[in-house]
Each structure stands twice: as structure tokens, then as C-alpha cells.
């Protein structure tokens, strides 16, 4: 969706163009959550996401399971060796334990996914609210800016901007990814605010003399944010893929940073000899992306089926 590198998945923009697609959100009903919690479609991906987040937060707790937790303890004599006891995934070309590397890779990959999504969300809520609520020139400017980034060949843009950064850290990569993914959510936020703005209680608040900021913060945003909020999980999945793609072509993170993308990138040239080097990071990456996407799908279906 917002996976910037997934050019062919602009589901949200396409649907957002349907008139009235993003109506005012309904308040989260307790019942919905309860119903969700009982579905395996919901709690299985949720469990994986929680597990991966825990892995990203304290990788050492997971990396040491097989007795060899340090991803930096490497010895070239083990370069490319297959699984042995204590090293269930074998070793990478540097002779580092692949399992602990893949576990530690969760931090950068998820970090970028979550940070980018958070950035995107903030921008979307702020700009989307401004454009939707104030309309006029504000809307005009923001909407044209969205158009600029919307039609932009995203991958080209990201490559160019990333090349201008000399440091490729979690922060810089996230900033670039966010720079090119904010319009999708902003557009949805905007139409949601547009719909909310006209509701009676907002008019009432305005007539009671509440200031625009107060109305926005108290009345409009809390009621308009749901369509955007339910998309965040899917966005995280997309961003993780996007980071891996950028790193895969060599413009994202680079070693000695440990991320799944970096591992995939270095596995490229060893794939035919050591398929495991590609397989295990790809497996974790896919699991993470899949869980976030499925979780997001489920949330979306439950809270805002019209956004499908």
C-alpha cells in the first residue's frame, strides 16, 4: 500500500478516489474488538507481530537460545557453513552465526517500519486535517503537494534522495521512506476530515464559539482518524518490504548494520552456493510483512470495510 517500492499496489489511492469511500469513522465498539480477538485470522498475526517486536526490543533474549547470541562474534573459518549444533541456521559468509544475525535483524527492519509509519501518520494527520478542515488555499497547496509526491516515480525519488544522504541510518532511511509515503494516508485523512467537518456536532461546537484548533483536536481528529489508523499495520508491512528493496539494490542500510535487507543484499551473490543465506532472512522478512499485512487486513475489515 504505502510500500513505496511496491509500485503496483496503490489500493488505497484507487479506492480513496471513490466518492464517499472514507466516511466518518465509527467509534470503536468494544464488541468489535471482542469479536476480533476470537478469530485466528486476527490473533495469529498479532502473536507473530508481538513476538517480532519483542525480538526487536531485546534481541539478545532470543539470539542466545542456541547458545551463541553474539551476532558480531565471527570467524572466517566458518564462512558459509551449514547448520550445526548451536547454530541452527548455519553461518553467513563472514562466519557469523546466521540465527543470531537474523534475530538481531528484526530491530532495524521493524524499527524502520514503525518509525516510518509513525512519521507518515503524524504528517498525514496534521496535513490531512489542515487540508480537510480549512479547505481553500490550504487545501489547494497541500493537495497539489500530495499530487507531486503521488505521481512521483517513488523508487527513483527514493534512490536519488538516499544517494544525497551520506549516512544511511534507521533515521535517514525512515525519513526518505516517509517522504514518499505520506500522501496515501494524508489523502484518506483529508477525505475523512472533510466528511467529519460537516457533521452536526462539529457545527454545534463551532457555533458555541470553540476555536478551530480546539474543534480540530477535540472533535474532528478523534472522529476522523479511524480510517487512517486501521491502515497503519498494513503500512508497516509495506515499509518493511520497501526498506528491504532499497537495501537490496544497495541504497538503503549497509553492513555492519544488521537488517534483513542487508542480509538479503549480501546473500545475493552467494545464493546459488548457500541458499540458506537468502532463505532465512527472507523467511523472517516474509513472516513479518505477512503478519502486519494480515493484521491490518483484519483490522480494516472489522473497522472500515469500505476502505478495502
Amino acid at each position: 500500500m504505502t510500500s513505496a517500492l511496491q509500485p503496483a499496489t496503490p489500493a488505497a489511492p484507487a479506492v480513496a478516489a471513490v466518492p464517499g469511500a472514507a466516511g466518518p469513522s465509527r467509534r470503536v465498539e468494544r464488541g468489535t474488538l471482542h469479536r476480533l480477538a476470537r478469530r485466528p485470522r486476527f490473533f495469529l498475526p498479532l502473536a507473530v507481530v508481538v513476538l517480532l517486536c519483542a525480538m526487536a526490543a531485546v534481541p539478545s533474549a532470543f539470539a542466545g537460545w542456541f547458545g551463541h547470541g553474539d551476532p558480531h562474534r565471527c570467524s572466517l573459518e566458518h564462512s558459509g557453513q551449514g547448520p550445526t549444533s548451536g547454530h541452527p541456521f548455519g553461518f553467513d559468509v563472514q562466519g557469523c552465526d546466521l540465527y543470531s544475525n537474523v534475530v538481531h535483524g528484526a530491530r532495524d527492519s521493524l524499527g524502520i517500519g514503525l518509525l516510518t509509519t509513525a512519521l507518515t501518520l503524524v504528517v498525514a494527520v496534521v496535513l490531512g486535517s489542515l487540508a480537510g478542515y480549512f479547505g481553500g488555499v490550504t487545501d489547494m497547496v497541500i493537495s497539489r503537494l500530495m499530487d507531486v509526491f503521488f505521481g512521483f516515480p517513488m523508487l527513483v525519488g527514493m534512490i536519488v534522495v538516499l544517494e544525497t544522504f551520506s549516512v544511511h541510518s534507521i533515521l535517514s532511511v525512515s525519513l526518505v521512506l516517509a517522504l514518499f509515503s505520506w500522501p496515501v494516508l494524508t489523502r484518506i485523512m483529508r477525505s475523512s476530515v472533510l466528511a467529519t467537518r460537516g457533521l452536526d456536532y462539529v457545527t454545534a461546537a463551532r457555533e458555541l464559539g470553540a476555536g478551530p484548533l480546539r474543534i480540530l483536536l477535540r472533535h474532528v481528529i478523534p472522529n476522523a482518524i479511524m480510517p487512517v489508523a486501521v491502515l497503519t499495520s498494513i503500512t508497516v508491512g509495506g515499509v518493511i518490504t520497501a526498506e528491504a528493496s532499497l537495501t537490496f539494490i544497495g541504497v538503503g542500510l549497509s553492513a555492519p548494520a544488521i537488517s534483513w535487507g542487508v542480509q538479503l543484499n549480501s546473500a545475493q551473490q552467494y545464493f546459488t552456493v548457500h541458499p540458506g543465506l537468502l532463505l532465512f532472512p527472507a523467511l523472517f522478512l516474509s513472516l513479518a510483512v505477512l503478519s502486519f499485512v494480515l493484521l491490518g487486513d483484519c483490522l480494516r475489515d472489522a473497522f472500515d470495510p469500505r476502505l478495502r
Binding site: H72, R73, C74, L76, E77, S79, G80, V93, Q94, G95, C96, S166, V167, G250, S254, A255, P256, S266, Q268, Q269, Y270, T272, V273
Partner: protein
């Protein structure tokens, strides 16, 4: 018999739209395709083209370096000098350009002047800095007042007199570079058009329309008027790829007949295509350079500690799968004068490394290591980072990768904040070239900033030596002098390899590790 007829047919049809001068004569030999990096054919003017097997096929300069690393005359009949400063060059007769124009002394003078003339912005222009008058064509400010090198004089149709800025006994090696190839009169009518469809004097000519805008390949046709050893194949398709790895993948999928194999692909190739793989040591060294302007590396013991902490054998054996030689000097033995042990601290001794570092005051803070954007270099640097971490106990290590166009300017501007892993290939296969490029105080590739009066004077004496043997001895002495200061730690000499389809044979690699296109025979 049938095969030969088919080959002839193919060649005839291929020549249908091309030049007329090659028609009629034997067109047998078949065709093949080769995958190369895109910069190989990005420019096809001697002054702009990279030194590559493709350039070697299109042009033949005055001299050539044979596969043994020895310089031999090509278009030149003789090169004579008594003081190594003034050179008299006579040309063989009977050489023609691919458009029929004879190759004369003037053809060389025109080409060299064009390359050295700054406003032409030819990227090989710096190679002419040895020749008298280069400064006038490349003023530090303003426009040059002349467009002719004063040190190049055409004495007759086949005699050229060249005056150098200072004596250089290795000048015949220098002349082997394709930058010194001749250009016909026709080229100067439209240099931009020539750059895409050049007329050379080599064994192969670029078939019309040359390199199309945005094009990814060119076709080479055998030039039957070539007086030297003629090409074996009648036609060669040169296809470009973004990286060696994509070229190798294409070879494996059957899209291209020859591809260079480097890095891990080399071990894949040696396992899967052992009978189709040709390898050759490259006239180059991979080294870990030290930023001598950085005070942390001012103490030679620190540099020694870093050198001793790197396990070169493990890197060569495990990472490079044996496709390299560990280096204790700056030039392998394929280079004249190379192969010596110039470096005392290029072995692996972590204990002594730690001692030396402790004696120099230990290491504080973090360190960033640099390299250029190249998967193999990155992999090797990663291993070095790991080894430094465990052998020297430096915990905060990071790694930065920059494209070539960034890393060199940054190094020269002293913006690079740590040791750097780089590759240095010899401009010509002589230790003098390698030593000059790495340590010469005026060299643009001496990125570590090494300066030594003793080295420079020894090198000057080497350049002025009357025999090449004496010159080499002095160059070796100079190299040892520089290496005693350890401005960089040599790591290994890379090996280059190329794989070829089963239908091809006779493939040979030149001293740069490039495929000699003429040598390939289509079965």
C-alpha cells in the same frame, strides 16, 4: 565444411549494412557475444574510453604489453632515446585505419593533442602530463593559448619526436595505453559522432550505427586490413551490464557467451564451469590505506597493529575462495619488478598487533572504515571490521560505502575519517607505475597523503635510468622505502576470471584481466 559455410553466411549477412572495405575477403570465423560493464563502451574516443579489452580491439597504439607483461612494438617500428627525455618514434608502414586512411605520425599527434587539450574535456587527458607542453594546454586558469603539445613534433609521415617533461624510462609502457592510440582525419569532423562510431586501427571495427543513444550494445566486425594478428571471430556483440554479477547470471542463462566472473561468482564458475573458466592474476593490489592526515594514525605502530590484525590468509581462503594471492607488497609478480616482499608487517599476528597498539597508547573512541561501492570490497571490509573488532578490541566500529566518484574526492579532501579499502590497478605493468600511483607526491591516486623525499628521489632516478632493468631496481628500492613507513597495508592481489561458452576456445586474458577479444575462436 557445413559449419564453415554457415559461419561465412552469418558473417556475410552481418556485413551487409556495414562498411564496404571489409567485403569480399574471408569472413569465416563465426560470432560470439561478450558481457561487459557499461563504462566499457560509454565512450569510444581514445582520449575518453576506459582501458579495456574492447578498446584494445578497436585501437592499436604504438606499443602493446604482451601477456607476459613485456612491452612490445605494435604500430611503432622503434622507440629510441638516449636520455629517456627525448624520444624518437618511427612507425611501421602499411598500417591503415578501418576507413582506409593510412596511419601516420600525424594521426598520433592529432589524437594526443585532442586528448590533452583541456576544453575537449577528455578524461584520459591527464595521462599526457608527462609530455612537454601539457601545462600550456591545461592552464590552472583561463583558456589555453594553444591546442598543440609542444613536445610532440611530426618529423615525417612515419617519424615522431616526443619531448618529455622529465626523463621516463618506462615511456614505452605508457604508450601502450589506448589513450595513446591514433585517430584518423575523419574523426575531427565530428568528435561527438566519432565517440559513438569510432574509426580505429585495431583488429576489430565498430559496426554502424555504433552505440545508439541509450543503447546497451555494439557490434564489432573483424577488420581484415589489420596488419597485426587478425581477430579469430568475424563478429563480436558487446553487451553491457550494470554489474559483473548480472553479466555472469546472463552467461549462466545463456544470454551471453563470455562474461567476467568476480567475487563469489568466480568460485561458482570454478565449480560449475571448470573447463570454461580462464583465470589470470591481475596487475593490481587491494590494500587498506591509512588516512595519514588523521592524528590517530600518525604513529606507525598503530598502522602496523592494523596490518597485523588482518588475517589475509583467511580472507583469501574463505571469502575469496582462494581466488587471490595474499600480498606482502604492492604489485604481484605479473608486473615487472613485482612479487617482492616489501612489507614486514603484512602477516597475521594478533598478539603483536595488540601489543603495538597498546604501546602506541591504545585505541579510544569509535572508528569508521570506508570502501567503494562494490559487493566484493564490501564483503572483504566487513571481514576486516570483524577481525579488527576481535583482534584489537575496538568495539565501536562502523563501515561506510561510497561510490567511486565520492570516495576519491572525499579522500583527497581529507573528509574520510578512517582507513579505507581500495583497489589499485597498474596503468602499465611495471612496478614503477604502481609505486608512483600509490606513493608519488604528485600522484592523484596517492589518496593517503604519503610524502617522502627519499621515495621521490629514488623514483626520479628510476625514471631516468638508461636501462629498464636498472630502472626497476631503483623502483623496487623506492617501494621498500615507502613500505617501511607503512602508509597502507597491502592485503591481496586479486585474480580475474572469465567464463566462456562451450562453443568458444582460445580465450586469453590481458594484463588488466580483460578478455583479449582477438584470441577467442568460435568452434
Amino acid at each position: 565444411m557445413a559449419l564453415g559455410a554457415a559461419g561465412a553466411l552469418a558473417a556475410v549477412s552481418a556485413c551487409g549494412g556495414g562498411g564496404a572495405q571489409s567485403g569480399g575477403t574471408s569472413a569465416a570465423g563465426g560470432s560470439y557475444s561478450i558481457g561487459v560493464p557499461s563504462w566499457y563502451i560509454a565512450h569510444l574516443t581514445p582520449g575518453k574510453a576506459g582501458f579495456s579489452g574492447v578498446a584494445d580491439a578497436i585501437w592499436t597504439p604504438l606499443t602493446q604489453v604482451d601477456r607476459g607483461g613485456k612491452v612490445v612494438d605494435a604500430v611503432a617500428q622503434s622507440l629510441r632515446s638516449t636520455d629517456q627525455k627525448h624520444w624518437t618514434i618511427t612507425l611501421k608502414s602499411g598500417w591503415k585505419f578501418q576507413n582506409g586512411e593510412p596511419v601516420t605520425a600525424q594521426s598520433f599527434a592529432d589524437s594526443w593533442n585532442a586528448a590533452a587539450y583541456a576544453p575537449n574535456a577528455m578524461t584520459n587527458g591527464y595521462l599526457f602530463a608527462n609530455i612537454d607542453g601539457y601545462a600550456a594546454l591545461n592552464p590552472t586558469s583561463g583558456k589555453p593559448t594553444t591546442d598543440k603539445l609542444s613536445g610532440v613534433q611530426v618529423v615525417g609521415a612515419s617519424t615522431l619526436k616526443v619531448t618529455l617533461v622529465k626523463p621516463l624510462s618506462m615511456f614505452p609502457y605508457v604508450l601502450a595505453g589506448t589513450a595513446f592510440a591514433p585517430m584518423p582525419k575523419a574523426a575531427f569532423k565530428d568528435l561527438a559522432a566519432y565517440d559513438r562510431l569510432p574509426i580505429g586501427n585495431g583488429p576489430y571495427q565498430v559496426a554502424s550505427p555504433g552505440l545508439a543513444p541509450g543503447g546497451q550494445q555494439i557490434t564489432l566486425k573483424r577488420f581484415d586490413g589489420y596488419p597485426g594478428a587478425k581477430g579469430k571471430a568475424a563478429q563480436i556483440t558487446v553487451k553491457t551490464y550494470q554489474t559483473d554479477a548480472t553479466a555472469f547470471t546472463s552467461f549462466r542463462s545463456g544470454a551471453v557467451d563470455i562474461a567476467t566472473a568476480s567475487g563469489n561468482d568466480l568460485s561458482t564458475a570454478s565449480r560449475m564451469y571448470s573447463s570454461q573458466l580462464v583465470t589470470s592474476p591481475t596487475a593490481a593490489v587491494v590494500y587498506l590505506g591509512f588516512p595519514l592526515w588523521d592524528r590517530r594514525f600518525a604513529d606507525v605502530r598503530v598502522r602496523e597493529a592494523f596490518s597485523l590484525a588482518v588475517d589475509r590468509k583467511a580472507i583469501v581462503a574463505s571469502l575469496l575462495q582462494g581466488h587471490a594471492q595474499t600480498a606482502a607488497g604492492i604489485a604481484p609478480n605479473v608486473i615487472a619488478g613485482g612479487g617482492g616482499t616489501d612489507c614486514a608487517d603484512c602477516s597475521y599476528d594478533p598478539a603483536r598487533a595488540r601489543q603495538l597498539l597498546a604501546a602506541a597508547g591504545g585505541w579510544k573512541g569509535s572508528l569508521t572504515l570506508w570502501t567503494k561501492q562494490d559487493p566484493d570490497m564490501q564483503t572483504v571490509l566487513e571481514a576486516i571490521v570483524n577481525q579488527l573488532r576481535s583482534n584489537l578490541g575496538i568495539s565501536s566500529l562502523s563501515m561506510k560505502v561510497q561510490p567511486t566518484d565520492q570516495i576519491y574526492p572525499n579522500l583527497l579532501a581529507h573528509k574520510t575519517t578512517g582507513p579505507f579499502l581500495l583497489y589499485m590497478g597498474a596503468s602499465y605493468p611495471n612496478l614503477y607505475s604502481q609505486a608512483d600511483q600509490l606513493f608519488g607526491s604528485t600522484s592523484g591516486t596517492n589518496v593517503g597523503g604519503y610524502k617522502s623525499g627519499a621515495f621521490d628521489s629514488l623514483m626520479n632516478r628510476a625514471a631516468a635510468a638508461t636501462t629498464s632493468g636498472a630502472g626497476l631496481k631503483l623502483a623496487q628500492q623506492a617501494t621498500r622505502t615507502a613500505m617501511a613507513d607503512l602508509p597502507l597495508a597491502p592485503l591481496y592481489y586479486p585474480v580475474s576470471g572469465a567464463v566462456h561458452a562451450k562453443k568458444l576456445s582460445g580465450l586469453q586474458l590481458g594484463y588488466l584481466g580483460d578478455v583479449d577479444l582477438s584470441s577467442v575462436t568460435v568452434r
